[in-house]
Amino acid sequence: MTDLVVEDLRIRFGETVAVDGLSFELPAGGALGIVGESGSGKSATALALLGLHTAATVEGRITFGADDLTALTERRWRQVRGAEIAMVFQEPLTALSPFHTIGDQIAEVYRLHTGSTRRAARDRAVEVLRQVHIPDPARRAASYPHQFSGGMRQRALIAMALSCRPQLIVADEPTTALDVTVQAQILDLLDEVRETTGTSLLLISHDLGVVAGSTDRVVVMRRGLAVEQGATDAVLVAPQAAYTRELLAAVPRAKPPRTIDGGPLLRLAGVRKHFRQRRRAEPVRAVDDVTLDVRAGETLGIVGESGTGKTTLARLMTGLLSPSAGTITLDGVDITRRRGGSVQMVFQDPMSSLNPRRTIGESIADPLRLSGVRDPRPTVEDLLLRVGLTRALYDRFPHQLSGGMRQRVGIARALAPRPRLIVCDEPVSSLDVTTQAQVLSLLEDLRAEFGLTMVFVSHDLAVLRQIADRVAVLYEGRIVELGDTAEVYDQPQHAYTKELLAAVPVPDPAEARRLRALRRAQVTA
């Protein structure tokens, strides 16, 4: 088994410095996490470990066994890649070739490095697919990547990484594109793989929770430098550096409970939404018999993973979609008939939520103009200040703002027509942890100030814990649990809620290990 030693690594893209003197060690068989926000240089480091940089200059020393990875010949690289160091990428769908079956892709890599026969390679492919717990591996090996679900694809990628029995696996944000429960499964799998094969693991993530449960050592990166490093138990429990403390503080905290005494504002009764599928008799039941009330003045959290129907539900609540069955009323009036901006929405993707050809001031002013306001500018500028931006931004365009700022603009736009209810559809999912914390507290403040009612849809339980008064758990289009936040988190009733809660990544290593044991117990149960 081989140690990995990185000394004074510098990576430059022309003038921009991505990594500026990074040093760390990963002993054989160990697990090291590199954590940092976007722009910290963690991905650049990962790519350098496989020599995948084409446009960058890499300086320093990376010692891996007998090789210096900064000075390998192309020929030697082809031997190292896949056979000694294997990489697991973030997006499994695009990382696999869509034109070849999974089995073929794995077999090809295996044959390339070991020179084995086709039959032996195919057998190996099935073997590793079984190792990553893909059911019916022999048959699934003949499927194409697009026929797998996201979690299974990632397992397949891990299988490919295992196929040549490498010394080190580099996993670059392997779970970011996955649902919470699936994320937990993949991390558990990586842990298991490490235990059974003794492979070293380098895990890169922006999420402290992911790193906490799966590594022995951690390096915290910021702008190309290691701000802090050490044993995971030490760094995440008692951080030395200010930045690390900042990151930990930004992790969502539980909210003190409030009493809500408002009457029901939005009522959903027996709501269903079906989408007909092409060539299949059964329609997709996105929302399947949902009945709930949103009380005036509260923040209702709706949690669910992708495909559970939460976006559909959010759109139904605003009247953008009409239900196939059931009624939705706002203050007694059917929501699809209402006029005016009494219900507004904050969207997930800051890129597509603003018209790129319009200044942000005009985007915010739009609802005001529609309701007949002649000169909305002063009101808009006021709103800009309220959401923590400056007046001068009125005439800027969306592409000139950062993601977090664009999200604030979206909030300002939602506030413009003085709505009663705001539905937020994953508004912080694409933001950095620190920005996320800021936007969440902004939403809290605005809710209190304007007396709003909010529905907050998210897949992230941690986020909801900070902002929601009540939580509804959505599973396959149905509400399987509904109650005050504290109750749901401390005493979950439904099996799915329990599964979700056990899968949440937490930055406390001890807690993370407890949850892993809990998940293992759930699986065997």
């Binding site: 496989l50 995948l52 690289w77 082809r78 031997q79 190292v80 890649r81 896949g82 056979a83 294997a86 990489m87 990428f89 997006e91 695009t94 990382a95 696999l96 070739s97 869509p98 034109f99 070849h100 090809e108 890599v109 390339l112 490095h113 194409y144 697009h146 490919m160 092409r278």
Partner: protein, 329 residues
């Protein structure tokens, strides 16, 4: 699969219906007496009346269309006085000028147009993909630039201009090649190819440009995709990456385009055939237009419509066959 074919067939029939209705409507509602047009030049009033009856134009539009439809299936008889001309199924009309059923005329000429189309298509594919690959792989910068320039120029030349220049150059000035006439493939393959060479090149110019550009863009885009990075990350040699993985993705759009372009060439063969004097379907059309032989015009138009629809269906089929992500609609 069967279901798909049936559905596309149904769609094709619908389109052809629409097309034929459209044509009938346009031609026979147009402010010209179709009988005069069909009667041709040098028409006398007696002959005109004969022709009108023979053509069945003295009936209502709907009746005429019905006759046309039944003729497609069961053949049709045109009688005028003592003379009866039989038009076997599928009867697309009867050309009174040349005294032959339109279908026969078309079938006679089809091989010429087909030779033209296929030859040009093969030439453009080979040249286009080759040029596009070389440019896209960026082995030689200067080649990339040249190809780019040629591609743009290729878009800017109408086929008859190229044809004209080629004729000027090769037949008149340099006298390397004879003036093209048509020699059937079955008679003498070498002469067939030699004669068709100039028309093929003329047609291929613009096609090559399109294919080169597509291939180049396709290669560059595919090479930038994630799965190529994965292949590299697992140590696959560059040559295998290009040939086995990148090419497949890059050429995908080309596959479907080929089918459609074949049909397009056949329909725009009009110009080339006229230019080079080749007795194909296109030339038939021009001749018919000049002699105002309407049934031929209708027949040719319907044939080209059919070709385009068929080509589209085949293109979709090919696309589904080559890309495992696509399912047939």
């Amino acid at each position: 699969m069967i279901g798909y074919l049936v559905r596309r067939l149904g769609g094709a029939v619908l389109v052809l219906f629409g097309l034929s209705l459209l044509l009938y409507g346009l031609f026979y509602l147009a402010p010209s007496d179709p009988a005069i047009l069909t009667c041709g030049k040098g028409c006398t009033p007696e002959r005109l009346a004969e022709v009108r009856h023979a053509m069945g134009v003295d009936e209502s539009i709907w009746a005429q269309y019905q006759h046309f439809l039944t003729g497609l299936v069961a053949g049709r008889d045109y009688s005028s006085g003592t003379l009866t001309r039989h038009c076997p199924a599928p009867c697309l009309g009867y050309s009174f000028e040349t005294d032959q059923p339109v279908t026969k005329l078309l079938l006679d000429r089809l091989p010429v147009s087909a030779s033209l189309a296929f030859g040009a298509e093969v030439l453009s594919l080979v040249a286009g993909i080759g040029a596009g690959l070389l440019a896209g792989l960026r082995r030689y910068r200067w080649l990339d630039r040249i190809v780019n320039g040629l591609v743009l120029a290729g878009y800017a030349v109408p086929v008859f201009l190229v044809g004209l220049l080629l004729l000027l150059l090769f037949c008149v000035q340099l006298q390397w090649l004879p003036f093209p006439t048509y020699v059937p493939l079955t008679t003498d393959p070498l002469a067939w190819a030699q004669n068709l060479l100039l028309p093929w090149v003329a047609l291929a110019v613009i096609q090559t440009a399109a294919y080169a550009r597509l291939t180049r863009a396709g290669i560059q885009e595919t090479l930038a995709e994630d799965h190529i990075r994965t292949a590299r990350a697992y140590g696959l040699p560059e040559s295998r990456i290009v040939w086995r993985r990148a090419l497949r993705g890059a050429l995908l759009p080309l596959v479907t385009l080929t089918a459609i372009d074949l049909a397009a060439i056949m329909t725009s063969a009009v110009l080339t055939e006229t230019m080079f004097g080749l007795p194909g379907v296109g030339q038939l059309l021009v001749g018919a237009v000049n002699q105002i032989d309407l049934p031929v015009v209708v027949g040719v138009t319907l044939l080209t419509g059919l070709l385009i629809v068929a080509a589209n269906a085949i293109a979709d089929l090919l696309y589904a066959a080559v890309d495992p992500r696509v399912e047939l609609r």
